[in-house]
Symmetry: C2
């Protein structure tokens, strides 16, 4: 038999304490079933030997692994780390360990990870899943599963609704006197992009603003720079970008071209992943990814306890964070 860690087992503790396995087991799971005396003896022996219950054996016996899996498209995308951190902290509070999976935005990889994790977790959190609805439903049938930023009816999900914040952004710009703005889009297949784009359109229509939509296949910063000339060419006086990185790219290009922000042109980002770390500090839409992570974990923990699989749709509203990149239209170009 291959190498094995040499940790003391329940039997050795039992022998050392002069009791049986059962009592040792109980001492670690239901101490109230034992006399204080025995518990003390057992803990002393355990301490002495450096005994720690074997998680794997316990899992095999009980079917509870005390683990959950968290799968994201890309750990390195600044949107996710705070969410991961929050989820991890929340899991920790319930003594759960978390497997982290990185799908690389790839459905195949995501599916593979789910399979690999499957045997050793009690449930899943899929963030911005790239899987098809059918696949998600299938997996949800096998194990408790909650979604973040993916809206599949019947599957518990928490959604960050950037529409509210985006609408506020449009209103904010309207109030500042802007009459024409452009929405600088994000990744083609993205649920968030669709949501934000239509939110801009809807709000603009309501307020009588003109809006030009520019689409994008490339990611973030570079795209922000490249698209800026076209944005200016539309004659608009403000832009709302799909995300902060795109906005940051625009800021860089505008500075390069000597266009003052917000005096000559206003820019709004989305997701607030940069904090105030741009210059000028970026007006943006809050993202609430921390709450999303926390909420998803609470949902999951809930499902694990009362194994009722409720159809929850937990929506987190966003709001506008006004900083320094938006200003009155009077002074703007045109």
């Amino acid at each position: 038999m291959p190498p094995r860690q040499n940790r003391p087992t329940i039997n050795q503790v039992a022998a050392a304490a002069g009791v049986t396995k059962s009592s040792v087991s109980r001492a670690f799971t239901r101490p109230e079933m034992l006399s204080e005396e025995t518990v003390r003896k057992i803990f002393a022996a355990a301490e002495e030997l450096g005994y720690v219950p074997n998680h794997t054996a316990r899992a095999l016996s009980t079917g509870r692994h005390g683990n959950i899996a968290l799968i994201v498209p890309d750990v390195a995308n600044p949107f996710f780390p705070p969410l991961i951190r929050a989820a991890q902290a929340e899991a920790d509070r319930s003594d759960y360990c978390v497997f982290l999976g990185n799908s690389d935005e790839n459905p195949k990889q995501e599916d593979k990870l789910i399979g690999r994790f499957g045997g050793q977790v009690e449930g899943f959190v899929l963030v911005s899943s790239r899987l098809s609805d059918a696949q998600i439903i299938e997996h949800a049938g096998r194990a408790p599963l909650v979604l973040i930023n993916r809206d599949v009816p019947g599957i518990p999900r928490v959604l960050i609704d950037s529409a509210t914040g985006v609408a506020q952004a449009v209103a904010h710009l309207a109030e500042l006197g802007h009459r024409k703005l452009v929405y600088v889009g994000g990744p083609h297949g993205s649920w968030s992009n669709k949501q934000r784009r239509s939110a801009v359109r809807r709000a603009a229509r309501k307020l009588g603003l003109e809006v030009v939509v520019i689409s994008n296949e490339f990611p973030a910063f570079e795209f922000g720079r490249k698209v800026t000339p076209s944005v200016l060419a539309t004659g608009a006086t403000a832009a709302i970008a799909f995300d902060d990185l795109t906005a940051q790219g625009m800021l860089a290009e505008l500075a390069e071209q000597g266009v003052a922000v917000p005096d000559d042109f206003s820019v709004v980002g989305c997701d607030d992943v940069l904090g105030a770390a741009t210059f000028p500090a970026l007006t943006t839409v809050s993202n609430r990814s921390v709450e999303a992570g926390r909420a998803a974990l609470n949902l999951l923990m809930d499902m694990l306890q009362n194994q009722a699989i409720r159809d929850v749709r937990y929506v987190l509203d966003t709001s506008l964070v006004i900083r320094k990149t938006t200003g009155p239209a009077e002074s703007a170009l045109q």
Copy 2:
């Protein structure tokens, strides 16, 4: 017995295929021991039932969990995600799953996580560990363990040596004609900060430059902004910051004060976590965290296979990435 997932077991497959458990087990681990015929039958039955080997049971039996643990101080610190991503990808190549732990920069928490993971992983990677040398050595005695950015003799470790890149930065500034520069420090207890600070001093002495060191207890961006007036007051014409965020803060404040970069003042960051996403694009020191993650994992995998615990000290040199925030001193202030 509490809830249990209802996956088919090896026995059901055996029954369906008309063989015994043993054969099914072999079909999944050492198919070459069986006739092609039986293997085919077994796989067919397994497929039919949707059988997947139970990872936990297998781990209990073999002592190999196919998992490793990765512990970082803070997932949300932009330095770590690329490292995590690389490590995770590398683990995946060897069919390992990775537990992610977030220590919150807290030794207690780190210790607790190691304990919790202990029973279900074959090894650990500790990134920028906050544990004492003694604790690290103790844990390394129990299970294969490799360190990143922590230099404990006897424990396999991979170190990112920012000293080389920092020295290049000083040389670069000297070449541009700068005679006096300031090092804007980072967190007090940080190994990296000490390393960088002394690298700046050493290189400056060698090249006959004057250097002022400003220390910092606060993190990053805000500190960069606040410290800028003092930096300018020194009469230096260039600054090297502990990290990119600090540099970015300085950039923002310099812009605010109308000091042109790099015409009036030069700035160098460290870690290259921002890519070219500042304006002007930041000259900085590469970080190689991706390679560090990959290397650590390869080391660990190596230790798991040939269980020889070698004393490896793997050092990754860094180098200067010249972008747009450094320029000749002639035109600078003073």
